[in-house]
């Protein structure tokens, strides 16, 4: 966990007081909606179809049990008893009154949580690997750098009114769980030939109307230079990013129009003037941030304790969950447990207040009071002793949190879509719900193997459909919902954009088409081990296209 100190706490309280004043001025009419909109967005408040939505930051996806209980309180006291975990390590509440927003934020500030910069044309919540600090394959804990960047970007006086939103993600592991290639700045921690650890810097990744995979403009950036280099990127973007067209205002368009090389050269020129300024990171500052991350006092335990093997033998349901939702921890005798928020028939990523309280209690009992939020909209208990897995599983089951579908076809990422969102053209959640019904049989899902479905209700791509193994994009045709299907996208270290399968299909046909695609894959794969994504890569989309459209 990161321990916020008085400075962080003071700033959060002062921000609540400022926002209370802003809401007061809006309600009195002193501020017009036009003026208030930028102010409320910078504090995570959207006006959606039915109500205001509040998006709360969960910096680098780390939550304490105390914070989770506060989220449950907010769900009960100010909302309708549930919340929605997003793809960017935030939680959204859908029904909070503007009048009660300041009180909600004051309650959250009590546990050092806030909604600063969860929207607006500023640097958004810095995201990272939900397994940071416990993953067996990481170089070092990337949250230290996410925290350095969190502080640096919070209420930044120069970069709070950028051409458009700005998203930064960091990954320090061999396997990229933070989708860094689809961020405005993607940082990968790497080791150079001298053995030093630094950052590979990608810029200009992003989805939306014009999707791009990020381009590397700096193969190795020393740690001391992280802030000055990010400032140089932001300064070039702030001055030269397009402001004439909202759809061309993201940094990816600037990088694309200038070319990555020229953009990189502009950044270098700017960076040369500030590299040795007060932004250069002093080792003492880095050490101070790093020291504030505390790690559990692990017991000395053996891997694969006998109790675990016994439970696996005795209970097939437990075995299925163990194989699916439990991952290797870097500490012997411990495990990383993913809690699926994708039960059959439910909206992806939602948790009720009761579930939040239960998760907080389970975190205290089994995971040193710590919870993580990942970009797949699932939660994680990051430090569970392997010997306690059978007991934890039973309790998770009781709360509907042990669906063994992590990484499988029913572990769907979906945006809120037309059921909530004022920008959406089509619904996402009911499509996801129907798909989870179609693939509810665990044996079938296991046979299919790893397969990511991503659903967006409009071109803004909040459901990351471009990088879904199967991507589903809702569009509108003559007042009716239609869906475009793409195949072959991926968001990991081999990130690529999916290819359009063919003409859009009607709402009622989406699940049938996906079933056809999956059935075709099962027939066409070389071996049962060949993943869907690899089959698409090997044979292209034509065989799928024939299969889907021949019948229609």
């Amino acid at each position: 966990m990161y321990r916020y100190d008085d400075f962080d706490q003071t700033l959060v309280h002062q921000r609540v007081a400022e926002f209370r004043d802003q809401v007061g001025r809006r309600l009195s009419g002193a501020l017009t909606e036009d003026e208030f909109k930028i102010l409320r967005l910078m504090n995570g408040v959207y006006l959606q179809l039915h109500a205001y939505m509040l998006r709360i930051a969960i910096p680098y996806g780390t939550l304490s049990s105390e914070q989770m209980r506060m989220l449950a309180h907010v769900a009960r006291r100010y909302d309708r008893g549930y919340g929605h975990f997003t793809t960017r390590q935030n939680i959204q509440f859908n029904w909070i009154k503007l009048e009660e927003m300041p009180d909600t934020l004051a309650d959250l500030a009590g546990v050092k949580m806030h909604a600063m910069q969860t929207s607006g044309n500023c640097v958004r919540n810095i995201t990272t690997d939900q397994w940071a600090g416990v993953a067996a394959d990481e170089i070092e804990d990337p949250r230290i750098w996410a925290e350095v960047l969190r502080q640096y970007s919070t209420l930044h006086p120069e970069f709070s009114f950028l051409p458009r939103k700005f998203k930064i993600a960091i990954s320090a592991a061999a396997h990229d769980r933070a989708a860094v290639a689809v961020h405005d700045i993607g940082l990968r921690m790497v080791r150079n030939s001298a053995g030093e650890v630094g950052f590979e810097v990608q810029v200009g990744g992003g989805l939306g109307r014009t999707p791009f995979i990020g381009k590397v403009i700096k193969p190795f950036l020393p740690k001391r230079d992280l802030l000055s280099y990010v400032e140089a990127v932001l300064r070039v973007y702030n001055q030269y990013g397009r402001r004439d067209n909202i759809y061309k205002a993201r940094i990816k368009i600037l990088v694309h129009e200038l070319g990555a090389e020229k953009f990189g050269a502009e950044v270098e020129k700017e960076w040369a003037t500030i590299k040795d300024s007060a932004l250069a990171l002093d080792p003492a500052v880095i050490a101070d941030v790093a020291e504030r991350f505390t790690y559990p006092d692990y017991e000395r335990l053996e891997d694969n304790p006998p109790a675990l093997a016994r439970a696996r033998q005795e209970d097939r349901a437990f075995a299925a969950w163990l194989d699916n939702s439990v991952s290797n921890h870097k500490q012997p005798g411990y495990a990383i447990v993913t809690l699926s928020l994708k039960p059959v028939g439910a909206p992806p990523g939602d948790a009720t207040a009761e579930q939040m309280d239960a998760i907080a209690d389970l975190a205290d009992r089994y995971s040193f009071g710590e919870i993580r939020v990942g970009h797949e909209q699932n939660l994680v208990l990051p430090h569970v002793a392997q010997k306690e897995l059978p007991e934890l599983w039973q309790k998770l089951e009781a709360h509907g949190l042990a669906t063994p579908n992590v990484g499988l076809v029913s572990d769907i990422i979906a945006c809120p879509g037309l059921d909530y969102c004022s920008l959406a053209n089509a619904r996402s959640i009911p499509v996801a719900q129907e798909l989870t019904q179609r693939f509810r049989d665990h044996k079938l899902a296991s046979t299919i193997g790893r397969l990511h479905i991503n659903i967006s209700g409009c071109i803004n791509a909040c459901g990351h459909h471009h990088v879904g193994h199967i991507g589903i994009l809702g569009v509108e045709k003559n007042g009716e919902e239609f869906y475009q299907i793409t195949l072959g996208g991926r968001a990991d270290e081999d990130a690529r954009l999916g290819t359009l399968l063919g003409p859009a299909v009607r709402y009622g046909e989406v699940a049938d088409v996906v079933e056809d695609v999956v059935a075709a894959y099962v027939e066409l794969r070389k071996t049962p081990q060949e993943l869907f994504i690899d089959t698409v890569k090997r044979i292209g989309i034509e065989p799928f296209k024939e299969r889907v459209y021949a019948a229609r």
């Binding site: 809006r26 309600l27 009419g29 017009t32 909606e33 006006l47 959606q48 179809l49 039915h50 109500a51 205001y52 309708r80 008893g81 549930y82 009154k97 503007l98 009048e99 439910a346 909206p347 939602d350 948790a351 009720t352 207040a353 009761e354 037309l418 059921d419 909530y420 004022s422 920008l423 959406a424 053209n425 089509a426 619904r427 959640i429 009911p430 719900q433 409009c458 509108e476 007042g479 919902e481």
Partner: protein
């Protein structure tokens, strides 16, 4: 069934209402004939599309009670009841199309 930005550009024909969200809590509201707002669609002013422009203008001038007014289509049910004219408006009136978590 399209974004608010495009919603405004869109030509709506037939019978319409002027709708917005209430400032204080975001609730869906409809403009009445006496320049008030109501959450009850049956009490809304229903006009032919060309005539709604004036009602919209007056609604836009009311920047404190409601936010983002626009013209939305309506239909009439069998009993001549006023109903929302498209999916987006049906969802705005009735809420999400699935059971909300915790409500089941």
């Amino acid at each position: 069934m399209t974004s608010p930005h495009e919603q405004k550009k869109r030509k709506v024909s037939g019978s319409v209402v002027v709708t917005a969200n209430r400032l204080g809590d975001g609730a869906v509201v409809y403009r009445t004939i006496d320049d008030d707002w109501t959450t009850d669609l049956a009490s809304a002013a229903v006009l032919a599309a060309p005539a709604a422009a004036v009602l919209l203008q007056r609604a836009e001038a009311d920047g404190v009670r409601a936010v983002g007014p626009y013209i939305a289509p309506v239909e009439f049910g069998a009993d001549n009841r006023v109903l929302p004219g498209n999916l987006r408006e049906r969802i705005r009136l009735a809420g999400p199309t699935f059971t909300l978590p915790g409500a089941a």
